[in-house]
Amino acid sequence: MKTLVSLLLILPSVVFANDIPGVFSGEIAAEYRYFPNEGAYDNTEKHHGSIILRPEYSISWDNDRSVFSAIPFVRYDQQDSARSHADMRELSLVTSWPAVELRFGISKVFWGVTESQHLVDVINQTDLVENPDGEEKLGQPMISPTLITDAGYLELYILPFFRERTFPGEFGRYRGPIVVDTDNAEYIHPDGDKHIDLSLRWSTNWHDLDWALSYFNGTDRDPAFRLDTQRNLLIPVYGQSKQVGLELQYIYKDWLFKTEVLRKDSFQYGLYTAATVGFEYTLTNIHNGMDIGLIYEWLYDSRGEITPYGMFDASFIATRIAVNNAASTEILAGIYLDNASTAMSVFRVEASHRLAPSYSLDVEINIIGQPPEASRLNLFRNDDYLQFRLSRYF
């Protein structure tokens, strides 16, 4: 712990050393989460404080055709020891030739077009302790060549090491009655976390229609759980899966029409289909440059009731407000509704505002409503929170 703190103190001063080529930058942030209710499973603390350090070093040469970057990440959480963790978000070399780009090292890749959930996005493991919305990801070791042609981009991913999902610990929120034991994960495949996962993606655009097709074969990012009755812990069990993903986005004037379809064969659920279909309409420049985006998405999953978060026939209605001012104030507020019961599952607000050139404030609200009985979300009903995050960028 002490080393961590001293590291936090020393790093910024190292960062400002000017005589090293390349660019040092990064973020140091303090985060505070307030849970109005006590947790349901003895995780009763209402105030959760955190410190985050995310330094960044990058150097590029040959007219930005080769880039090396490193982004370590550390969080210290006051309450949850599982949430105090470190990760190498990025440690990669990307270099490109006229028709080929090669990415080597630990990196992050995002696939998808929709806002409510990211079905096809499979390369990186979710860093779940960071945020229950699952948008934070762990760095993934990869060798990834991309073939750049006039007909689109063909990306190949060779993923030699598997990253396990992070789960909140005993004193953390967003967990069920039984704590997940992340130290003793099990694998169905004999190669364990050394299994080499492979993935291919072809993306292109045809005038105003963007589309991508992807294929993945390897360790399922989503674990099943085995109850260790002796220790009363949940053991994550990672099986193998295959999936095919389709992303479509059509842009027409102020409209963006989006579709993601996933066809997945997982050891846990067998063969199933999931889809997100929706649109985003932007009212542009309505008042001094303010943009207001209106989003609707339909979430479908053929697994039905057993869909982990219960979004098997749900709607996502959201608005994105970008004030377009000097402080870059932005608000995204969205609500997930269950179509059958029309009950609200989740309500989320994310807002950001720049306080000063190097300081920004983010506010997040997450409220769990009445998700379907069988869904995992139902376990988190006491975990509504309000979060402030003050970041200093350097």
Binding site: T146, W255, N285, G289, S360, Y393
Partner: protein, 1049 residues
């Protein structure tokens, strides 16, 4: 008289002729060969032309203008010999000694009148009060050991001299050229090949004596020689191939040795007659006319095959040979005569062309075809009557196929017609998309040394396309007038600023140098002399110092009333050459007194106009050919209806072929103008054969359905075989090293193939329909068909217009657009740019906040630029990048990269009026200002910062723009935008953008150091401060793709 009687009577002539041939075969053979030999005797007068001027008629206005220029100044035929030292260093003793050797030896070449090189460049400098003019590198200088100091001094002088740089020496001093001017007496056609050969030998000799050097040759002399070489090569390589092909084809179709040899004999005799005629008529051989034998051969064979096929068919039915010959003549004499006549008309119509070599092609072919006709109805049957021919029983394999096909045609005639009409209209609408390019280097393929050599020189040293402007001062000795010189200098500067201009040679550079020399080489005096007397004196002094042969007569006329500006262009299509010529003349009209309003002249300009002139000329030629051929058809078929109907299958193939070419290939030379008339005469043959058989059947009592069947059965096979021969024959022209022949061959082959298709589908279908209509007299049917056709035509036109709608641009007639185009032209050619930007936002209270961006811009020719903006601060958005492809007509495309999510988001570009990063700049203010994004109004001429300029108004075309209009101030000298006022949708003044601190960069482009946007309605302002602007980096389109967006930090 019954139809049968009429038919009998009609064919009396043919039968009588057939019997005559059979009675006196020897007389026929003897007299026909004698006739050919008489014509063929002319071969000994055959000559070769190797003068590009022969491509232009005597009264071609561009040729006249150019010859007038050549009479004023010295002649321009030259050889540009370039020397590339393998180590890439020109300024070293061995290379300079070699250049000195070359320069001196070049004087010994035939017809030479002037030699310019960097060694004999007349370098003037001051020595005290004296003006010294001497060779830049002279022999004494060379004998002494050249120190590296002297060498680098020489290099600096050469590269600082506007007359040399990018003309005789490249910027790295790694390639140099020697320009050898020649004046040909024009007495013998072998002058040019002789001079070209001598130049090649000199280069060879030089390479032997001075190893470690590469040489390349271009210039007008080499171009002329290349025409010559291409013509001879076409004759030498295409002919043997043609013979081989023909022999193989004949064996395949006839399977009879005697008839194959007879046919080949006829072919050879026809060619001899054609070529002999060219000798008698003293027509020189040029690349276009050199293909005449190939064309004659193809056509002559078609005739013979028709006669022979019928003969075998009749004999196959057990008729004896002599009767079969008569029968064959009876059936074929008329169609063969007709087809020959129409072919001759088609080829003779080439005489309407503006390019004499194509007259020659037409005339030679016409004579050859006439001869082939005579021979195939006389010599051929006469020979056949004397030799033994085994009858072959023809198998009737095809007939069930023919029956089935005819049945299908019968049932589907309406859809067939409608489909063909639709396709024709669709493809016809594509024709205007053909891009015409007559770069004369591109006329040749790489097998002709002129092309790779010229391309090397364009790539490494200078351009080969030049345009001249003869600028007259209006009075003798007027070129020393400072007013004249100032405009001349501005004109040269303007031309230098235009994209694709490589070099501008102007007298003012000499004046500036002299003025400097006369002021003790003081650099500050490198400007035009201010007094007329002074200028005149300098010039006189300089001219007196110049040695023999290196005077200024190539730049100044005798009474010193005018001088010429020579503009050398990069590798550009001819359309661009015309564009630049127009820009130049427009500039002169706007800035110079009337005496100086010169037009662009040069061989390049002549070639740039050749297509347009030929197309107009051939429109008439083709129209007249069509009319004559249609009249011939009406008379021959004795039916106005069928004669007019024949127009359809005659017109459609050329339209379809050219339309298809426009879609698939796109680019063509001016020979495309001849395709219609050349092929017309040939494809008519198919129609003639089909219609005469159809007519024969109708007259002998068949109804239209079975007449179609009869015609298909009797000429179907022959049509296919002749078409195949014709297609292959014309395809052989595609092997020509000469682009015009290639295009002509390819398009003709395509046209003939399509014609066959049309004759087998549309023609019978139309015949059926019209017949039904006449039989039924059904008004309802007629209306129905007319409606169908109307709908099809209208939908085809709408569809094509729909495709074209975006491509249509407005006529750049008005002056406002002219200003915008000029500004765009002036700035175009920067290729790419990178810079850092500090964006300072200021609110109403005067508080500022700053953001730092990096920007990369890639110029995209003929479309909007691509740009990539990366944010460095504020730190929370560091790494956020913005990629934009702006388009001149389509909406822009934009992507945003969010580094924290690693997500690339496509952005709706409707949001162009929104502020960029909270600044007062809207997205649309920052995207590249393409000319086509606005319509323009010229407001007034104005002083812009004390300089003459223009005020224009531009109205955004895009309805999503946030502006009703913009008022733009542009200075008239450097075409820099100085100020823009933006009016919002309510037409109230919203913002004003002013540009400050313009600087000119190494590539002559101007960039402002800062741009200040003030919003009058909210009191805020944003200033962009540009830093580290650099151009011409190693940045290409691959740095602007979406992966680059993800990669960048």
């Amino acid at each position: 008289m019954s139809t049968n009687d009429r038919a009998k009577k009609q064919y009396q002539t043919e039968t009588r002729w057939g019997n005559t041939v059979l009675k006196h075969p020897y007389i026929i053979i003897f007299s026909s060969i004698l006739l050919v030999l008489m014509l063929a005797y002319g071969v000994r007068f055959a000559s070769v032309s190797s003068d590009y001027r022969y491509f232009f008629g005597e009264d071609n206005p561009q040729r006249v203008a150019f010859e007038r220029l050549q009479n004023v100044y010295s002649q321009d035929d030259s050889v540009l010999l370039t020397v590339t030292p393998t180590d890439g260093v020109v300024f070293k003793p061995s290379t300079l000694a070699g250049l000195d050797f070359l320069t001196k030896q070049a004087w010994l070449l035939p017809y030479v009148t002037r030699v310019d090189s960097i060694t004999n460049f007349q370098y003037s400098h001051a020595k005290g009060d004296d003006l010294i003019v001497q060779d830049l590198v002279n022999a004494p200088n060379l004998n002494a050991e050249l120190s590296s100091e002297v060498l680098s001094q020489l290099k600096a002088i050469a590269l600082a001299e506007p007359l040399l740089k990018n003309r005789l020496i490249d910027e790295q001093a790694s390639v140099t050229g020697i320009n050898i001017k020649m004046t040909f007496p024009g007495k013998s056609p072998f002058e040019v090949p002789e001079a070209a050969e001598a130049a090649r030998q000199l280069a060879q000799k030089f390479k032997q004596q001075f190893p470690g050097h590469e040489t390349h040759l271009t210039g007008m002399v080499m171009l002329n020689d290349a025409f010559n070489e291409a013509g001879i090569r076409d004759v030498m390589t295409l002919m043997p191939l043609m013979y081989l092909l023909i022999a193989v084809m004949l064996f395949y179709f006839l399977r009879n040795i005697v008839s194959v040899f007879t046919t080949l004999g006829i072919v050879i005799l026809s060619i001899l007659a054609g070529v002999g005629f060219s000798g008698w008529a003293s027509i020189p051989i040029t690349p276009p006319s050199s293909i005449a034998p190939t064309v004659i051969m193809t056509l002559a064979i078609a005739h013979s095959i028709h006669i022979l096929k019928t003969l075998f068919k009749v004999m196959g039915k057990g008729v004896n040979k002599n009767q079969a010959i008569v029968e064959s003549l009876k059936q074929n004499l008329r169609p063969v005569f007709l087809t020959s006549l129409t072919t001759i008309i088609g080829f003779l119509s080439l005489n309407f062309s503006d390019t004499p070599p194509f007259h020659d092609l037409g005339n030679i072919t016409a004579v050859g075809v006439a001869m082939a006709f005579v021979l195939s109805i006389s010599l051929l049957p006469a020979v056949l009557s004397l030799v033994k021919i085994k009858p072959r029983l023809t198998k009737q394999t095809g007939s069930t196929l023919v029956t089935r096909y005819a049945g299908w045609l019968d049932r589907r005639s309406v859809p067939i017609v409608l489909t063909m009409v639709f396709v024709t209209v669709m493809l016809g609408m594509q024709i205007n998309k053909v891009k015409i390019n007559d770069q004369f280097v591109g006329y040749f393929d790489n097998s002709i040394q002129f092309r790779p050599d010229s391309e090397y020189i364009i790539e490494n040293l200078t351009g080969v396309y030049q345009i001249n402007f003869d600028l007259n001062s209006g009075e003798p000795q007027g070129i020393a007038d400072p007013g004249y010189l100032t405009i001349l200098d501005e004109f040269a500067e303007y031309m230098r600023s235009i994209r694709d201009v490589v070099h501008v040679a102007t007298l003012t550079d000499i004046f500036k140098r002299l003025n400097k020399n006369m002021h003790a080489d003081d650099e500050t005096y490198y400007r035009l002399p201010e007094q007329r007397e002074l200028a005149a004196q300098y010039l006189l002094l300089y001219e007196m110092s110049l040695p023999y042969g290196l005077d200024l007569n190539n730049q100044i006329n005798v009474d010193k009333s005018s001088s010429r500006v020579i503009v050398t262009l990069d590798e550009v299509p001819t359309s661009r050459i015309l564009e630049i010529s127009t820009l130049a003349t427009d500039w002169l009209k706007a800035h110079a007194p009337p005496a100086m309003h010169a037009i662009a002249t040069s061989p390049t300009v002549m070639f740039s106009h050749i297509t347009e002139r030929n197309i107009y000329a051939m429109l008439w030629g083709t129209f007249i050919a069509f009319t004559l051929i249609t009249i011939t058809m009406i008379i021959a078929l004795r039916s106005v209806k069928y004669g007019l109907l024949s127009l359809l299958p005659n017109v459609m193939p050329a339209i379809l072929a050219i339309g298809l070419w426009a879609l698939l290939v796109g680019e063509a030379g001016f020979s495309i103008a001849f395709v219609a008339s050349v092929t017309l005469g040939i494809i008519v043959d198919d129609t003639v054969h089909f219609l005469s058989k159809f007519n024969y059947a109708r007259n002998t009592g068949h109804d239209s359905s079975s007449a179609v069947h009869y015609a298909l059965e009797h000429v179907g096979g022959a049509l296919i075989s002749t078409s195949v021969i014709l297609i292959m024959g014309f395809s052989i022209l595609m092997l020509s090293g000469f682009k015009l022949n290639f295009v002509l061959g390819a398009l003709s082959a395509l046209t003939i193939a399509i014609a066959l298709l049309v004759d087998f589908t549309l023609l019978p279908a139309i015949l059926r329909i019209t017949d039904k209509l006449t039989v039924n007299k059904g008004v309802i049917m007629k209306t129905k068909y007319a409606t169908y056709t109307g709908i099809v035509i209208i939908s085809a036109i709408t569809l094509s217009y729909g495709l074209d709608a975006r491509a249509n641009t407005q006529n750049p007639a008005d002056k406002g657009k002219w200003v915008a185009v000029s500004a765009d032209q002036y700035d175009s050619g920067f290729k790419n740019q990178t810079a850092k930007i500090n964006m300072v936002l200021k609110n109403k209270q005067g508080q500022t906040s700053e953001r730092k961006l990096r920007i990369k811009i890639l110029e995209v020719t003929n479309d909007g630029d691509k740009s990539l903006i990366i944010f460095d601060t504020p730190r929370d958005v560091k790494g956020t990048s913005f990629l934009s492809y702006s388009h001149s007509l389509d909406p822009d495309e934009q992507w945003l990269y969010l580094p924290s999510l690693k997500r690339v988001k496509r952005i709706s570009t409707n949001n162009k009026s929104g502020p960029f990063m909270g600044s007062e700049f809207a997205y649309e203010d920052l995207s590249s200002q393409e000319v086509d994004k606005y319509t323009y109004l010229y407001v007034q001429a104005d002083k812009v910062l004390g300089i003459d300029g223009h005020v224009i108004e531009r109205i955004p075309v895009d309805p999503n723009s946030g502006y009703a209009r913009q008022r733009v101030w542009i200075d008239g000298t450097h075409w820099r935008t100085e100020k823009i006022e933006y009016y919002d949708r309510k037409n109230e003044l919203l913002k004003t953008l002013t540009y400050h601190g313009y600087q000119q960069y190494a590539n002559n482009k101007w960039r402002a150091d800062s741009m200040e946007m003030v919003n009058h309605q909210n009191g805020k302002s944003t200033t962009l401060i540009w830093k580290n602007i650099s151009f011409g980096l190693d940045v290409s389109s691959r740095d602007f793709d979406r992966n680059a967006l993800k990669r960048i930090r």
